[in-house]
Amino acid sequence: MGGPAEQPDFRSVSHAEDWPLWEVFLRGRRGLSHQHVGSLHAPDPELALQNARDLYTRRGEGVSIWVVRSTEVHASDPDDQGPLFDPPSDKAYRHPTFYSVPEDLQL
C-alpha cells in the first residue's frame, strides 16, 4: 500500500476500474442448447469465460459456456407484450387439435 493518502474516493476511481457486465449461457449437457444462467463482471472475454467456469459450473452444471457482453443483448420491450405474444385465437388452425382425423388412425 502507498503512503498515508487521504481517504480514497471510490466514486472517482470506480469507472476506470469497473469491469463490464457479461451474460452467461451454459450447455447443461451434449444435446441441449445453451441456456442463460446469470451474469458476471470481467474485463475481457477470456476472463469472463474463466469466471463463468468458477461461478456457474462448480458442480458439473455444464459442458460448454457462452459469454456475451450485456450491452450486446437487444431485448423486446415489456410494453409490447400484448401485440407480440398474445395467443392468436383467430389462428387456431396453427395447432394440430384444430383438425379432425379418423380416431383409429395413427396421424
Binding site: 476500474e17 446469470g38 463482471h41 475481457d44 458442480r59
Partner: protein, 317 residues
C-alpha cells in the same frame, strides 16, 4: 412529483399482477418503493454472503484434516459465489456493483448481524454450518418463491448448493460430540454461543417488524419472521437430540396444544446492539472487506488496461 391517476392505476395493476402470482422481471414497470426495497434486501443478502466468508475462512488454515480443509474451502468458495449471484440480481434493478460495495464498506448498508460474532474454536465451523446455514436455508427456501424473478432464481441455485453446507456442519459436530470429553465440551460450547444468534437471524418479532406487511403484500416476503423462526426451532430440536447436544434454553419444550416447540424469550437488546455496530467483530469484518477491495484495486485496473491494449491492437490490425 405528486401521484397522478396513472401512477395509481399502475400501482393497482402491479398489485393485481402480484396477487395473480405473476413474477416481476427486470424491465417491468414497478413502484419505486418496490424497487428500492428489493435493491436493499438483495444487496444486504449479497453483503451477508461476502462478509460470511470471514468467520469460517478464519479456520481454513487450521482445519484438523485435509478432508475438512477441502470441505471448508469449497463451502467458503460457495459463499463467494452466492454473493456474486445476488449482486448480479441486484444489478438487474439498475444499481452498480461498485455502488453496492461502497455502501457496504462505508457502513451505509448492513449485512446479517450473525457474522459479527467471533469463531473461537474449530467447533464453531460445525455450529455455523448446522445452525447458521440451517437458519439461512429455512429463510431462503421461503424466498425461492419471492416475487422478483432474478432474486427467486438466485435463491433456487443457492438453496441447491447450501444443503451440503448444513450437512457438513452437522457431521462435524456429530464427530466432536461423540469424540473425547474435551471435544464434546467444545461442540457444546459452540452450540451454546450460536443458538440464540441463529434465532435472531430471522429478524425482529412480527409485532415489531414495520416493513413486513408491505413486503408480504408484494410477496417479497412469503412467510413472516416468527413463522420462519418457529419452523427452524421445530426442525432443529430433533437434530440436536441426534447430536447428543443441548440447546441452551431451559424453556424449550414441546407444546401439544400448539403442535410446536415453545422456546424462551430472545434477547432483542443484544440484537439491537450488534446491528447498530457494537458486536464483537463489526469493525474487523468491514476493515477486512475494505482492505480486500483496496488491495485488489490494482489487479482490476491492470486487467482493464490489458483489455484496452488488446482491443486497440485488434482494431489497429
Amino acid at each position: 412529483m405528486p401521484p397522478t391517476n396513472s401512477d395509481e392505476s399502475r400501482d393497482l395493476a402491479f398489485q393485481e399482477a402480484i396477487d395473480a402470482d405473476r413474477t416481476v422481471e427486470p424491465r417491468d414497470w414497478m413502484p419505486e418503493r418496490y424497487r428500492s426495497t428489493m435493491v436493499r434486501q438483495i444487496a444486504q443478502h449479497a453483503h451477508s454472503e461476502i462478509i460470511g466468508m470471514q468467520p469460517e475462512g478464519n479456520w481454513i488454515t487450521r482445519a484438523p484434516s485435509l478432508r475438512r480443509k477441502a470441505i471448508l474451502l469449497a463451502k467458503v468458495q460457495d459463499e463467494a459465489g452466492h454473493g456474486l449471484y445476488l449482486y448480479a440480481a441486484a444489478e438487474t434493478l439498475g444499481v452498480e456493483r461498485r455502488e453496492l460495495t461502497e455502501l457496504l464498506i462505508t457502513g451505509r448498508q448492513k449485512y446479517s448481524s450473525i457474522f459479527n460474532y467471533p469463531t473461537l474454536t474449530w467447533a464453531d465451523v460445525g455450529a455455523i454450518g448446522w445452525l447458521v446455514d440451517g437458519a439461512a436455508i429455512t429463510n431462503q427456501l421461503a424466498l425461492t418463491k419471492t416475487s422478483y424473478g432474478p432474486y427467486a432464481r438466485a435463491m433456487v441455485r443457492i438453496c441447491r448448493e447450501e444443503s451440503f453446507h448444513q450437512r457438513q456442519g452437522f457431521e462435524l459436530l456429530s464427530e466432536l460430540s461423540r469424540g473425547t470429553a474435551a471435544q464434546h465440551e467444545m461442540a457444546q460450547d459452540a452450540v451454546n454461543r450460536w443458538w440464540w444468534p441463529a434465532l435472531m437471524m430471522f429478524g425482529p418479532p412480527d409485532t415489531e417488524s414495520p416493513n413486513t406487511a408491505q413486503s408480504m403484500a408484494w410477496k417479497i416476503k412469503r412467510v413472516s419472521n416468527d413463522d420462519l423462526r418457529q419452523r427452524f426451532v421445530d426442525m432443529t430440536v430433533p437434530q440436536a437430540q441426534a447430536l447428543a447436544l443441548d440447546l441452551p434454553d431451559p424453556q424449550l419444550r414441546w407444546n401439544d396444544a400448539r403442535d410446536h416447540y415453545d422456546f424462551g424469550p430472545i434477547d432483542w437488546e443484544e440484537f439491537r446492539q450488534v446491528v447498530s455496530g457494537h458486536g464483537a467483530c463489526n469493525a474487523q469484518r468491514i476493515a477486512v472487506r475494505r482492505a480486500a477491495d483496496e488491495d485488489g484495486a490494482w489487479v482490476r485496473e491492470a486487467a482493464r488496461a490489458w483489455e484496452g491494449r488488446q482491443s486497440s491492437r485488434t482494431s489497429a490490425a
